[in-house]
Amino acid sequence: MAIIIELDVMLARRKMKLQDLAQHVGITIQNLSILKTGKAKAVRLETLNEICRVLDCQPGDILRYEA
């Protein structure tokens, strides 16, 4: 898939651990790992909304399209 997940970059910028993000977003760390490692087939807008709120960023900061 040409969609690149840059969650780890944002986490590093915000100096936040995956576990903390999972806790704030309200999803399991396993599910967040699926997203981080690019294995996810779909992202709920609800989840994306929460991630952006917690990390104080735009969806484009997490998702990037590469041809």
Partner: protein
């Protein structure tokens, strides 16, 4: 959510195991002791019009051996199917529903039904006719080939099971997608 399905699956599993054992017992006993009234009741319908009760009483060892082979061959798909169904319901009891193994089980059961209707049942009937008439004088021996509504039912069930397998495959893909949705 899956508790009810697990309970039902365990019960069905038990029923299928009992049917499996009873079938094996019925068929073995009937051909070992064909003279008993119980055997008449079991063998009568499967032998159809080939032999009367008095003819069944006169069965010799070769009739019994060939007859058992014919009956067992006819029931072989059922035995295999029962084993696969027991396995399928074991998976359901564990909460494994839309798995690749279950999809394959449905598909296999479907093809088994078709194979039973088109090959095993006619072959079984043929062997049973030979079993009945093997000791008849020359010119009175016969071979029979039958295809009735039971075979047709098995074909329809087989086709339905193959279609269900495709539906289960879609279910499996949807579940995989759901698993990977964050």
């Amino acid at each position: 959510m899956y508790a009810k399905l697990a309970t039902i699956s365990k019960r069905v599993q038990l029923i299928l195991k009992i049917i499996f054992i009873l079938l094996l017992f019925f068929i073995s006993y009937s051909w070992l002791f064909p003279q008993s009234s119980f055997s008449h009741a079991v063998l009568g319908p499967s032998l159809g019009g080939y032999a009367t009760e008095s003819q069944i009483d006169q069965f010799q060892l070769n009739n019994q051996l060939i007859g058992f082979t014919g009956s067992f061959l006819g029931l072989l798909p059922l035995f295999i199917g029962l084993r696969w169904l027991i396995k399928l319901f074991t998976n359901y009891a564990r909460g494994e529903i839309f798995t690749v193994i279950n999809v394959k089980s449905y598909s296999r059961l479907g093809y088994l039904c078709l194979l039973s209707a088109l090959l095993f049942q006619p072959l079984s009937q043929m062997i049973l006719a030979i079993a009945v008439s093997i000791n008849y004088p020359k010119g009175h021996r016969f071979i029979a080939f039958s295809f009735d509504n039971t075979n047709l039912t098995a074909i329809i069930v087989g086709i339905c099971l193959i279609v269900i397998a495709y539906v289960m495959q879609i279910g499996h893909e949807l579940q995989e997608e759901q698993k990977l949705t964050v």
